[in-house]
């Protein structure tokens, strides 16, 4: 078609405009707004707007006792609730120099790894759904349900467990705990094969992810990315390997890294991590130590004056709990270094210059949890 307004060819007559994606958008997985500047379909800039689910958890911890504030942390990254509770328990145990019984440590790791498995399963389903495949979402929820049933049976809750407590765990697991997990793994291993045949080998799916959302290693380091996002950019940063806690140093597992740097690499890293989680749990479940499940901690905990920092590996990366104590029964200041918050910083650099469809693919593989960002 001939351009009648001036002599410029048609393709140069473009105009930038701003589109708000969210806060109610299925592919942002929660209340996050992305102020996207577009030129046609090409992304010129992405500015994340946060705070829609900001609850002031850090402020609330300042008015709650050390045993009480742990309950709030289940609501940060609600897909890693066990691991959040574990981080807070570890930092208190460190301050009080409490020794945790071997049985409690084993239960904690088993639950943390099952939690990682549920989180990655949900991520797998939602990633596929963001890219237009609906079936995986239902399959992921079906499989995740099996694990949630174990959580519900043993801890009483499905999502916000509050089961890991300073000194150990709240109460002992059911006698059927080991058997239920062994039965579960027989099914889950088949499910994982199904994931691969359904989506991983799908050529359309691969084209949507390969070469999309490239995050170079130097940039990932500078941005402070952790977890599978950083490991897919070739950074070896697994907290379980470098700063082991609760006995990870005695277990055999591989840290999955990849030099692909793109969305596909992030996808593959998480798929492999699921297998590693199963491998870790299998080592512990065979001979779960007998004995106490908790060392009694005092009713009102007072940490000695000082600063404590504890990091753990959640499904999304490094969660750091930084507590400043003034010797009182409440934390003077408590900062949660959330993995999703730092990983969010990678969204703008990896998407600028790409098409808007790739924004969804990149966002899906960053695996952001919005309540973890806002806190």
């Amino acid at each position: 078609m001939e351009n009648q307004n001036n002599n410029l060819p048609l393709e140069e007559l473009t105009e930038e405009f701003v589109v708000n994606i969210g806060p109610q958008h299925p592919s942002t997985h929660g209340v996050l707004r992305l102020q996207t500047t577009l030129d046609g379909e090409t992304i010129k800039d992405v500015v994340p707007v946060l705070g829609y689910i900001h609850r002031g958890i850090e402020k609330m911890t300042e008015s709650l006792g050390y045993k009480q504030f742990i309950y709030l942390t289940s609501r940060m990254d609600y897909l890693s609730a066990h691991i959040n509770n574990q981080a807070c328990s570890l930092v208190i145990e460190k301050g009080l120099q409490i020794e945790v019984p071997a049985r409690a440590k084993a239960i904690r790791i088993i639950l943390a790894e099952l939690q990682r498995l549920t989180s990655h399963e949900l991520w797998w389903g939602s990633t596929a759904m963001d890219l237009g495949a609906v079936t995986p979402f239902f399959l992921a929820f079906r499989d995740r349900e099996r694990i949630l049933e174990i959580f519900e049976g043993n801890t009483g809750n499905r999502l916000t467990m509050n089961y890991i407590t300073p000194g150990g765990v709240m109460f002992d697991v059911l006698p059927s705990f080991a058997k239920s997990i062994k039965d579960l793994f027989k099914i889950i291993k088949e499910y994982l094969k199904e994931y691969d045949t359904l989506i991983t080998g799908n050529i359309i799916f691969q084209h949507r992810l390969k070469g999309v959302g490239v995050l170079p290693k130097e940039l990932a380091i500078s941005l402070g990315c952790t977890g599978p996002v950083a490991r897919a950019s070739g950074i070896s940063c697994d907290v379980r390997k470098y700063y082991p806690y609760d006995g990870y140093e005695k277990l055999d597992f591989k840290e999955i890294t990849s030099d692909g740097c793109d969305s596909w690499a992030r996808y593959m890293v998480r798929m492999e991590e699921m297998k590693q989680s199963i491998h870790i749990v299998e080592q512990l479940i065979e001979n779960l130590p007998e004995g106490e499940f908790r060392t009694k901690a005092k009713g009102v905990i007072k940490l000695p004056v000082g600063e404590y920092y504890q990091r753990v590996e959640t499904a999304r990366g490094e969660l750091g709990v930084y507590i400043v104590s003034d010797g009182g029964s409440k934390p003077y200041r408590c900062k949660f270094r959330a993995a999703s918050f730092s990983n969010l910083g990678a969204l703008q650099p990896i998407t600028v210059g790409m098409k808007i469809g790739d924004l969804m693919a990149s966002m899906a593989t960053l695996d952001l949890v919005i309540p973890d960002i806002d806190r």
Partner: protein, 152 residues
């Protein structure tokens, strides 16, 4: 370097700064005018290579503010804490470390939002969580809000 080695190294390399230790990491206090210079040296020196800012936050000590930088090295896997004390409560201001670590972008936005500490040379300083119309800075110890804060 281990925690003790790193502490000795910091004491020798920066004799003007006070070096202490927290439960986990060595802790160095530096003057706010020296921040960029010291941070750059820690980042680039072959012995330390602190290339990863994993946590940046602030503490309200009632008389002053402390801005805390947690650093680690992706090569040596050792950690340290840097602290800058800001005496001026009315108008706290500090140089941004964004040119050194891009992670500071979001961290400093959050500190500005919660403590009102402004960062010079930050590319896009904004109230990232609460929005521009919010009055006051909630994580300050003297923050009063009868409407939004439910006392427990």
């Amino acid at each position: 370097m281990t925690k003790e080695e790193l502490k000795t190294y910091l004491e020798q390399t920066f004799p003007a700064s006070k070096v202490e230790e927290t439960f986990d990491f060595p802790l160095m206090f530096i003057d706010k005018s020296e921040l960029i210079e010291v941070a750059k040296r820690l980042q680039n020196s072959g012995e330390t290579l602190f290339d990863f800012l994993f946590c940046e936050t602030a503490i309200d000590r009632k008389n002053n503010f402390e801005v805390v930088y947690h650093l680690t090295s992706t090569i040596y896997h050792h950690n340290m804490v840097l602290k800058v004390v800001l005496e001026d409560r009315e108008n706290p201001e500090l140089e941004s470390v964004y040119p050194l670590w891009k992670a500071a972008d979001l961290f400093e936005n959050e500190i500005y939002d919660m403590f009102g500490i402004r960062f010079k040379n930050h590319p896009n300083l904004r109230r990232i969580m609460l929005g521009d119309e919010w009055q006051g800075f909630p994580l300050r110890k003297d923050y009063k809000d009868d409407v939004n804060v439910v006392t427990l």
